[in-house]
């Protein structure tokens, strides 16, 4: 009975060893060359040697090639030896050569067999033919290698793709950031532009507008504008027809350049704008929206209109000048001819029997001749330049007279309003001619309102005309009286306005007007160094504005008034307890070109003076006044301002206190009643430090 070890029957183990399909041997470790102690059948087949021939052979005999070299196995064998010496198992790959010279590649597992005392005495080796496995493995390696290569290649592709992707992302991010910067820039331009900018739909809604446009249109914010307006044509355009024009042009040409038209602001005020816009279409050509810029050109338009008006007025002035020259030129001949006609008619009247037909005819001839004479005189009034009848006149008074005369002749439905806002109210003028100007203008106004009635407003104001306005009006700059005659009548079209001052131009039916009324007005106003301006629109009425040089400067003393000394706007304080007299002296002084202020209470007058002692250049005071005499007032004033010129007026020279005053030459005396000439002389001399003028 075989011994059992570790529960395995020794016989079974031997049988298993012998029949194992894997080549196996057991070798003696202690002998040189480690000779094989036993080997199984499979090992015999593996080597090609019969089993009995194997025992005793050095165990690794099969590992030597034909020339007896271990060659490629040397390393593996050393490894085996080393493992055995460490009493460890090891698996190595060995190429073994068969008896017939062919070779086999084996995986050889070598395990130490220890004696009972633990010494290594033997070892076993198991051979597994691994050529196929190696081939497979080799192939596998190759496949792996190829796979790795492919993976490598694909990884490279992937890497490249990833890099590309990365670069793209970076680029996109950069683009996005740049786009954001650009967008910010454009948004900033949009938000902060001075010009209005917008996008709008073709049906008239704003998609977006910038703050400038909102401001221009009178809205507090762009949102307010876009929310409020839903129909641009009717809510923005003053003339909605212009919108159709705009749409037609933008959709035909794709754009509109500098289209100028009027729009209405939120507060109703109309402004002029210049618009440039383009149409934005989809790829299929459908109109998406309009976008454009808008500039407020109201100021430019106003300046243009003003320039046009000035040009028209200049042309008109030149035309009137030419007509005036012509009229003056022919007047001489006309008067000679009329002289002959009238004269001969008169001579002939003597020669024909009274009551005869010839006498009657001659009478008619004379009548016609005289009518012609009047006409010529009116034409001459139009071109007249003489100023022989001029003097300082109170235009307000003339106005009052003329209007009371006119009222009776005006249609009943015409309401007359008169405003006198002028402080001085005086002009150097021919009163008859000024009367004629007022009458003519007001009669025309009445005529314009004859059918429907209305309001006639006559206003007199003071106006300082600066150099620019003076140039436009064709007058010398300075102080003017501005007479405005405004009616709410039928108004005039531009064609009428262009010709209204021409002699014989009339819109009245034959027989109702000579066409000389406005020509005469024009002639008179121009000959006074004044100007006339007209504003009118059909259906809204007309306004005639007449400028007459105000009587302020001594340089404008007219020949007929040369005995009067005129002032240059010096300030005079008039004191008289009698209001009527105070007012008369004040009025007289204004007419003489002074700025007069009247007080009726001497105590108050003193207070006024003491409040501002340099506010007046001269004091004209009555002597006999309750509470304070003129002389008392004068000395009190002199205490505050010793050099102030003072004139004392008195109706009674023997009045107490005055003789002393005059003997000391303190104050010049004016005797009541005061005449204009005396007053002008006394004031003139007092202001120049000569207290006793020779009257």
């Amino acid at each position: 009975m075989a011994t059992e070890r570790n529960g395995i029957n020794a016989d079974v183990a031997v049988q298993a060893f012998a029949n194992m399909p894997l080549g196996m041997f057991i070798a003696d470790f202690l002998k040189a060359g480690c000779p094989i102690i036993c080997a199984n059948h499979a090992f015999s087949e593996l080597t090609g040697y019969p089993a009995p021939e194997l025992v005793g052979r050095p165990c690794w005999f099969g590992c030597e090639n034909a020339s007896g070299q271990t060659g490629e196995n040397a390393e593996a064998l050393s490894e085996v030896r080393a493992a055995l010496e460490r009493r460890q198992s090891v698996a190595v790959i060995l190429r073994t050569y068969r008896a017939d010279g062919t070779d086999v590649v084996n995986e050889v597992t070598v395990s130490p067999i220890l004696a009972e005392n633990g010494d290594l005495t033997r070892f076993g080796a198991v051979f597994v033919d691994v050529r196929k496995r190696l081939e497979v493995e080799k192939e596998l390696v190759e496949v792996r290698r190829r796979l790795a290569r492919r993976i490598g290649a694909q990884t490279a592709d992937l890497k490249q793709s990833r890099e590309q992707l990365y670069n793209e992302i970076v680029e996109r991010l950069q683009a996005e950031s740049s786009l954001k910067a650009t967008e910010y820039r454009y948004r900033s331009i949009f938000e902060n532009a001075v010009e209005g900018m917008y996008q709008s739909t073709p049906d008239g809604k704003y998609l977006q507008v910038n703050p400038a446009l909102a401001r221009m249109y009178g809205y507090s914010s762009p949102t307010e504008l876009t929310d409020t307006i839903s129909d641009i044509a009717n809510e923005v355009y003053v003339d909605p027809a212009v919108r159709s024009l705009f749409k037609k042009q933008i959709e035909t040409d794709g754009e509109v350049r500098r289209l100028e038209y009027q729009v209405r602001r939120r507060d109703g005020q109309a402004i002029w704008i210049s618009e440039s816009a383009r149409v934005v279409k989809s790829r299929r050509g459908k109109v998406l929206f309009y976008e454009g810029t808008i500039q407020d050109i109201t100021r430019r338009k106003q300046a243009e209109a003003e320039a046009q008006r000035l040009e028209r007025e200049l042309r008109q002035a030149q035309k009137m000048e030419a007509i005036g020259t012509l009229a003056g030129g022919i007047a001489h001949d006309f008067n000679n001819i009329l002289g002959a006609i009238i004269g001969y008619a008169e001579l002939s009247s003597d020669d024909v029997p009274a009551g005869s037909e010839a006498a009657s005819n001659l009478k008619e001839l004379l009548k016609a001749g005289r009518r012609a004479k009047e006409l010529v005189q009116q034409i001459l009034a139009f071109s007249r330049r003489d100023n022989s009848e001029r003097r300082a006149v109170c235009v307000a008074d003339i106005l009052g007279d003329a209007i009371s005369l006119l009222r009776a002749g005006l249609p009943p439905a015409v309401h007359v309003e008169q405003h006198n806002r002028s402080v001085g109210g005086c002009a150097i003028a021919d009163p008859v001619q000024i009367h004629q100007v007022v009458m003519n203008l007001c009669t025309n106004a009445g005529y314009a309102m004859r059918e429907h009635g209305g309001q006639l407003e006559v206003t007199l104001e003071d106006e300082h005309v600066d150099q620019a306005t003076a140039t436009a009006l064709g007058v010398e700059a300075g102080d003017f009286l501005k007479l405005t005659v405004r009616d709410t009548g039928s108004g005039m079209p531009q064609e009428t306005m262009d010709r209204m001052f021409e002699p014989f131009f009339t819109t009245k039916p034959v027989g109702e007007g000579t066409g000389l009324g406005l020509s005469v007005v024009h002639g008179i106003v121009r000959s006074h160094g004044g100007a006339i301006r007209v504003e009118s629109s059909v259906g809204a009425g007309s306004t005639f504005i007449v400028y007459l040089p105000a009587a302020t400067g001594a340089g404008t003393i007219p020949p007929a008034a040369s005995e009067l000394w005129l002032g240059s706007g010096e300030r005079v304080l008039v004191v008289d307890d009698e209001p009527h007299l105070a007012n008369i002296i004040k009025q007289q002084l204004w007419k003489l070109g002074y700025k007069a202020h009247a007080e009726t209470d001497p105590v108050k007058a003193l207070q006024v003076f003491l409040d501002a002692p340099t506010a007046f250049d001269l004091i004209v005071s009555d002597q006999a006044m309750p509470r304070m005499t003129g002389v008392c007032l004068a000395s009190a004033m002199r205490q505050a301002r010793p050099t102030i010129p003072i004139i004392i007026c008195t109706g009674n020279f023997a009045d107490s206190g005055l003789e002393g005053a005059t003997s000391r030459c303190d104050y010049p005396i004016l005797n009541k009643p005061i005449e204009m000439r005396q007053l002008s002389l006394a004031v003139h001399h007092a202001l120049r430090g000569n207290p006793q003028p020779e009257t």
């Binding site: 007047a331 008067n335 009329l338 009238i342 004269g343 330049r385």
Partner: protein
């Protein structure tokens, strides 16, 4: 009845005024410009000269000035229908240079008669 020298370049008017003056009982010598008028005055020594202002050759104001220098006592009536300036401008100038009376054309017989009576009634012509 007075001797009058009438100076006017307008023939029609000259003839008419001559007739008018004659019918008022005066004798008239008519001339067509200032130079001829002056010659006639020197020769005929009239009491009255009626002269137009705007005339060719020698105009009225100049004629008046010369007449006034040579004949201080001569009575001069100036007449004018105006021109580039109004008749009153010319006539006031004529008055300044010594015309005793002025007539704005066109005038009628009554005005002429009044002017003549007026200057003839004056004892002496005014000093310039």
């Amino acid at each position: 009845m007075a001797l009058i020298v009438l100076i006017d370049d307008d023939e029609s008017l000259r003839t008419m005024l001559t007739k008018m003056c004659e019918r008022l009982g005066h004798e008239v010598l008519a001339e067509s410009n200032g130079s001829l008028g002056l010659k006639r005055v020197r020769q005929a020594r009239p009491q009255v000269v009626i002269t137009d202002i705007l005339m060719p050759e020698k105009e009225g104001v100049e004629t008046i000035m010369e007449l006034r220098r040579e004949f201080p006592k001569l009575k001069i009536i100036a007449m004018s229908g105006g021109g580039r300036n109004s008749a009153s401008d010319y006539l006031s100038m004529a008055r300044k240079f010594g015309a005793a009376f002025t007539l704005a054309k066109p005038f009628g017989r009554e005005e002429l008669k009044n002017a003549l009576e007026s200057v003839l009634a004056e004892p002496q012509s005014p000093k310039p």
